[in-house]
């Protein structure tokens, strides 16, 4: 069994196959995987050479053998994979002369597609594609699964899950980093290690992209964070262009020399990638033969870093406290509840971005409301948030289904809020942490409630940590919340919490987290109490605080504390934040500007100010009709005439939006009802992921008081038709960028005509023109955003 040898003795992989295949006559652009069936002899011979050179693990020629990448009508994927495994076994039979145990590793490469929401491949489809291959591979007798050359954490997660859930084979995963230690998708070393170890791979590491020399610093960083054995498979140097072709020129001897250093540093399995040959592997084996017994080298201790990560960024919890933004949560927030009910994801995303801008390091995500499909909404919110922020997320829910749905599709190693000392809670949550990986918040309460004493809370923390061990969840992945009880009802509340923080850290050596704001419940001027308690808690050893980062008082405490305790080198962050900040509030530059001219000139602050001033003279509706609409019309006409340009048109729209918000508040306060708005559905059609045009139209339509139901991009025709029917809309706007997606537009129109014949359709997008729009049966072609507004107005008069 390979797992019995892994980490105890040095294991050797094979090297590159591309060059060898080309030498044997494969042409550029040919699918290498077909050679498993068409050139069996040549394939077996390549594998034999590697086994003879000393490889213990040889990869099957299945790098691109997945349904998303492998498009060939001649051969079945199943036959390719089966033949590939057999070829390696055959190669072993012919090439291993010393009776050593060797392994055929099923090779999985990337799908070649970008996952949603940035690309068009869904996580589930990526998973299914890998699932198919790993099942064929196990059936054919592969000994392990080796996922390699991955540059996207999301894709590697799909592959690892597919391998783990559908086979019993060991799983190795190696990623491709650049010289700066980053993935092509931006991920750093700790985030990759945290993700892969969370998913319980048996070994992880680095392959391709660069030569052995350049991999040394990356390896060092991997070893700093990784507990599992580490794999290193470099290219034969950096790629060079010679006569327009890519080539690698590190010789076997040079390669072996640096590889020896790599093994001495701590790699447990080594081999080669592009440009390496059996000669490279032979030299490597020879050069490292004295290092083969890894039990002789200094034992690598398990790493104790508490890491949460997103696709691009790792946050390491520890001495320096970090801020978890609490704003994505409906509790006590009317506007947020409304957004959830109306499925206004954009509102939630804006809350996320605002908190990131204010300095949050992690975002808590809670979308629980009665009568809401929480698993679906949580999943969607998490995915969408990850397309606009690189901050790690804390999935906050009591709904175990929602928790699992979100953990499964989360790109990274999430924080999970929460488990507690109740057996029922631990039985439900820990299996998920064990499977998907995550840092879990443990609340110090159990069947008997919340203990009054620090000792009582520390005892529950101990219980949680011990129970987690049964699931092989290390204590570094548990963060204890000793709970802050409001001082107005429990006078000792703050003291108990602060004592408990210290005690938990002393007794259990784990990180801590606290929802800080609860402390002041029922008191006036809560920010004062909260921010002072926050400082005390940090000083008692708090690792992470769940707070409102938009609260200046709280962030001031954080910046000050970090500066005082020397976590902020040279007070750089503090100075960056507060230097020259006498005029903190955005100053209105010119208070004499009228609302009309503020909108025409696109001045946001001035528009806000002018709207408030005007309210002392006029009613909101009068302001809209007498000042705002005329201003918007002037700008719109200018745009049509070619004297105002798109950026200016949109600046005016943004200014108007701000003024509208002021008036809307005034209306609400006066108890007036807003005028009933006409609804319009907007969508970027199926297959199209460019939605800037649609978003421009949306902003302008909203300016003209339309209620826009924005379905987003890459939207199925059925979903558009459903939304049109459900909301009784009279107008649908569709956008498409390319000729290849106009077909979806045509299909959507056809379906709308069939299911909702009374609905008009306007279309727009770069490739469209009047003729094309007529051809696909649209009612209106908007050559620019203002035309869409005029058409919409004409539809409702």
């Amino acid at each position: 069994m390979i797992l019995e040898r892994l980490g105890k003795e040095l294991l050797y992989f094979d090297g590159g196959t591309g060059t060898l295949l080309q030498e044997k006559g494969m042409k550029a652009g040919e699918l290498p995987e077909t050679w498993n069936l068409t050139h069996t002899e040549e394939m077996v011979d390549i594998h034999r050479q590697y086994f003879e050179a000393g490889s213990d693990i040889v990869l099957t020629n299945t790098f691109g053998a997945n349904a998303l990448k492998f498009h060939n009508t001649e051969f079945e994927l199943e036959d390719i994979v089966a033949a590939a495994v057999v070829n390696v076994k055959e190669g072993a039979w012919m090439g291993v002369h010393d009776g050593r145990e060797v392994y055929a590793a099923l090779d999985l490469g990337p799908t070649g597609k970008l996952l949603k929401p940035m690309g068009d491949l869904s996580f589930e489809d990526a998973y299914e594609a890998y699932k198919e291959v790993v099942q064929y591979g196990e059936e054919a007798g592969a000994d392990l699964i080796h996922i390699e050359t991955m540059s996207d954490t999301y894709e590697v997660k799909a592959a690892v899950l597919a391998a783990k859930e559908n086979t019993k084979l060991p799983v190795f995963a190696t990623m491709i980093f650049d010289e700066n230690g980053k993935l092509l998708t931006g991920g750093d070393v700790p985030s990759v290690v945290a993700l892969l170890e969370g998913l319980k791979v048996d070994a992880l590491g680095i392959n391709c992209g660069m030569g052995p020399e350049q991999m040394l610093p990356i390896l060092e960083e991997i070893l700093r964070y990784a507990t599992v054995p580490v794999i290193v498979k470099p290219n034969a140097g950096l790629p060079k262009q010679k006569d327009g072709q890519v080539c690698y020129d590190v010789s076997p001897a040079e390669f072996a020399k640096v590889m020896r250093e790599i093994v001495e540093k701590g790699a447990s399995a080594v081999g080669g990638c592009c440009g390496t040959t059996p000669r490279h592997i032979r030299a490597l084996v020879k050069k490292t033969e004295k290092l083969k017994d890894l039990s002789k080298r200094e034992k690598r201790e398990p790493k104790e870093y508490t890491i949460v990560s997103s696709y691009g960024k790792a946050v390491i919890l520890g001495d320096e406290p970090c801020v978890i933004g609490e704003r994505i949560n409906p509790t006590g927030k009317k506007r947020f509840k409304q957004a959830l009910k109306e499925h206004d994801i954009d509102y939630i995303l804006r809350e996320g971005i605002a908190q990131q801008d204010a300095g949050a390091h992690i975002l808590d995500v809670n979308v629980g409301l009665p009568d809401i499909d929480e698993p679906a909404l949580m999943k969607e919110t998490v995915a969408e948030l990850q397309s606009v922020t690189s901050l790690p997320l804390q999935i906050d829910t009591v709904d175990v289904k929602a928790l699992e749905a979100a953990m499964r599709i989360y790109n990274g190693k999430p924080m999970v809020n929460s488990v507690n000392g109740k057996q029922e809670s631990m039985d439900a949550v820990f299996p998920l942490i064990q499977k998907y990986g995550g840092v879990v918040v443990g609340l110090t309460l159990d069947e008997d409630g919340i203990p009054d004493t620090p000792e009582g809370r520390a005892a529950i923390a101990g219980k949680i940590i011990r129970e987690a061990e049964k699931y092989k969840i290390p204590r570094k992945d548990i963060v204890i919340d000793v709970l802050a009880m409001t001082i107005s009802s429990d006078p000792e509340g703050a003291r108990t919490t602060l004592e408990a923080l210290k005690l938990v850290k002393e007794q259990h050596g784990v990180c801590t987290v606290l929802g800080v704001s609860n402390i002041s419940f029922g008191l006036p001027c809560r920010q004062a109490v909260n921010s002072n308690f926050f400082t005390l808690a940090m000083h008692a050893g708090l690792s992470a605080a769940i707070i409102n980062p938009l609260s200046e008082d709280m962030m001031r405490s954080w910046y000050s504390y970090c500066a005082l305790m020397n976590y902020d080198q040279n007070c750089e962050r503090y100075i960056g934040q507060y230097a020259g900040q006498k005029n903190a509030a955005p100053e209105v530059k010119d208070t004499r500007v009228t609302l009309k001219s503020a909108i025409e000139k696109g001045l946001k602050e001035e528009a806000h100010h002018a709207a408030r001033e005007l309210l002392s003279e006029k009613k909101p509706l009068e302001i809209i009709n007498e000042d705002m609409i005329p201003a918007l019309d002037t700008v719109g006409k200018g745009f049509e005439k070619g004297t105002v340009f798109l950026p200016q048109l949109l600046m005016s729209a943004d200014a108007a939006k701000i003024a509208f918000a002021v008036l809307k508040d005034a209306l609400a306060q006066a108890g007036d009802v807003e005028q009933k708005k006409e609804k319009i559905v907007l969508a970027t059609v199926k297959g199209d992921i460019h939605d800037i045009g649609k978003n421009i139209v949306k902003v302008l339509l909203e300016n003209y008081s339309f209620d826009v139901i924005d379905l987003g991009k890459d939207v199925d025709p059925e979903k558009i038709v459903d939304a049109a029917i459900r909301n009784h809309v009279k107008l649908v706007g569709l956008s498409a960028l390319m000729t290849t997606t106009v077909v979806s537009m045509e299909e959507t129109i056809r379906l709308l005509r069939e299911k909702k014949p009374d609905c008009k359709v306007m279309v727009g997008g770069a490739v469209l023109n009047q003729e094309y729009a007529d051809m696909i049966g649209a009612d209106f072609y908007g050559k620019d955003a203002m035309q869409s507004v005029y058409y919409a107005q004409s539809c409702f008069t």
Partner: protein, 231 residues
């Protein structure tokens, strides 16, 4: 304003009009932000080229049916095939702004397009010099989707250059490049210097396009001028 700023203004549809102060400031900010965010990457290879007289072009093993491309490549013996991208980070930035500030979004979008063009122009300029030193001449870039060069060839370029693995450039089922600020293209290489006045934008027959590059602009801009002489 420098070259890329002027180019961004053109993409924003200003034509011959002067750009307003606020937009100009937005353009400056956008480039600053892009310089921090964009991860420009390129991958290319040189292939042998055949142009039989039947409206097809053969680049390496890839056969392309396109009269426009054949015309563009006439007289060339080799072709550079390339893929380039600003990286996924720029898409995220655009998405972020589209939730907060649409005017900033459209300006950023134009600037990102200009940045990519500039990156490719600079790259090509460098290779033009190197090629000319060896007596070879480069033609203008020609991309899938131009004229009758079918967009579906995007897939071949990505596969032949291993764009996904090398630079993280992939494609959707409907042939849209992801990350969105990316380009695939081919460039002909000839042994003879062919005076060639066709250059991207000006060659297009849609003369009423608001994004069209102005003749005057081309004449006063030394870079275009230089290219004009070259091709």
């Amino acid at each position: 304003m420098d070259r890329r700023e002027k180019e961004a203004v053109r993409y924003l549809g200003y034509g011959r009009h002067a750009v307003d102060e606020k937009t100009e400031a937005l353009i400056r900010d956008s480039f600053k932000e892009l310089d921090r965010t964009a991860k420009c990457r390129i991958v290319y290879r040189i292939f042998e080229l055949e142009i039989p007289d039947d409206g097809t072009v053969k680049i390496g093993e890839l056969e392309i049916r396109s009269k426009n491309l054949a015309k563009n490549m006439r007289g060339c013996q080799e072709a550079v095939m390339l893929g380039a991208t600003l990286g996924i980070e720029v898409d995220m930035l655009l998405r972020r702004y589209s939730l907060m500030d649409m005017s900033k979004t459209v300006v950023l979008q134009a600037c990102a397009a200009a940045l990519l063009e500039e990156y490719l122009d600079d790259w090509q300029e460098e290779h033009r010099r190197a090629a000319e030193a060896e007596g070879c001449y480069l033609r203008p870039r020609f991309s899938p989707g131009y004229g009758d060069f079918d967009i579906s060839h995007q897939e071949d370029v990505i596969r032949m250059l291993e764009c996904a693995k090398k630079i993280g450039l992939t494609m959707t089922d409907r042939y849209m490049l992801t990350p969105s600020k990316s380009v695939t293209a081919v460039i002909g290489i000839s042994k003879e210097e062919v005076p060639c006045h066709r250059k991207g934008c000006e060659e297009c027959r849609k003369t009423d396009c608001i994004y069209r590059r102005q003749e005057r602009e081309a004449r006063t801009n030394p870079v275009y001028h230089e290219r004009h002489n070259t091709f």
